[in-house]
Symmetry: C2
Subunit: 191 residues, 2 copies
């Protein structure tokens, strides 16, 4: 009995240096994913461009109309901001759980729950990216069949900032994908 | 030692009737998900409406132009068809793996791989749904800010069939979500 206890203690000691090593990779991936989704959210949410268009001239005085392009004029971009905002929050919470979590574990259910939440978060983020990507494509190229003209020739910097938000969110998707695969792989039965 | 072996045998016997029971639920969910994604793919891919528009009249003779609305005029709908087609294929393969798979298992890695593939499939399907949903919303409501007119008042049955494909794909997403959660839960360490 006594030797059995010693063996157990040894095992738990040898297991300690292993676990944080693996967690640091996951943790830093989560931090990077948080930064990517947060910047995608902010860049898109603050995206706004006002431009003056000359609609007529009276004598030599041009009559201008100022038109503002904002992200919340497009439902797909609103969804994009919500999806990336939720993904940022999720990763913040998961970073917290990673640090404080081991205290609240129950029969290994914690890791299953984390994997499922990671997966759902990724699904939401990818739906937001899909919506915003194709709406941006429409803004850039237009659609002659539906007679929807492109608007990126008029609101160039609005489109470029939107594109930057999309690139950030694509990087986030890749990071979230790696994170989720790691979360699922953690559940692998150990032999 | 002998009594220990008997106990193990009993455990494995009692575990046998449990497993196929759980698999039948998952298998039927996969079949349903396959039917949903396949019908979403087909309904969207075959969606087409030709309509005649009167553009002028010479005397009493109307001059008409026939315009056809097809899914492949919209990149988002092409992506939707690809995503749902891939999801259908994935579920077919997974049904095959469910039936034949146990022969090719390696250290329980099969279930990890299935969970990861299920997750990736769901992510792809959700990106396709996000893209198609917001493009359909644009077709139905238009966007006054970008001066994109709605087209569903002209191509009503085209829009309705597209809406049916979207509903089928939403049902598919819910089924795929349940399937993926079940795949991940299967990995839960048994106590």
């Amino acid at each position: 009995m006594a030797s059995g206890n010693v063996e157990k203690l040894e095992l738990s000691f040898s297991a300690v240096p292993d676990k944080p090593k693996k967690d640091w990779v996951l943790l830093s991936l989560r931090v990077l994913a948080f930064l990517a989704t947060a910047s995608a959210t902010l860049v898109m949410a603050l995206n706004k461009q006002t431009k003056n268009f000359v609609v007529a001239t009276i004598g030599t005085t041009p009559i201008t109309v100022s038109i503002t392009a904002k992200f919340h004029h497009t439902p797909a971009f609103i969804f994009f901001v919500i999806a990336n905002g939720v993904a940022s929050l999720h990763n913040l919470v998961m970073i917290g759980v990673d640090i404080l979590g081991p205290r609240f574990d129950y029969k290994g259910l914690r890791f299953v729950l984390i994997a499922i939440l990671d997966m759902m978060n990724l699904v939401l983020a990818s739906a937001g990216d899909g919506a915003a990507t194709f709406m941006s494509e429409l803004g850039r190229n237009g659609n002659t069949h539906a007679r929807w003209d492109k608007i990126c020739d008029k609101f160039e910097s609005y489109c470029n900032r939107g594109g930057a938000a999309l690139i950030a969110s694509f990087i986030a998707i890749i990071l979230l994908l790696i994170t989720t695969v790691m979360s699922i792989s953690k559940l692998k039965p150990k032999n």
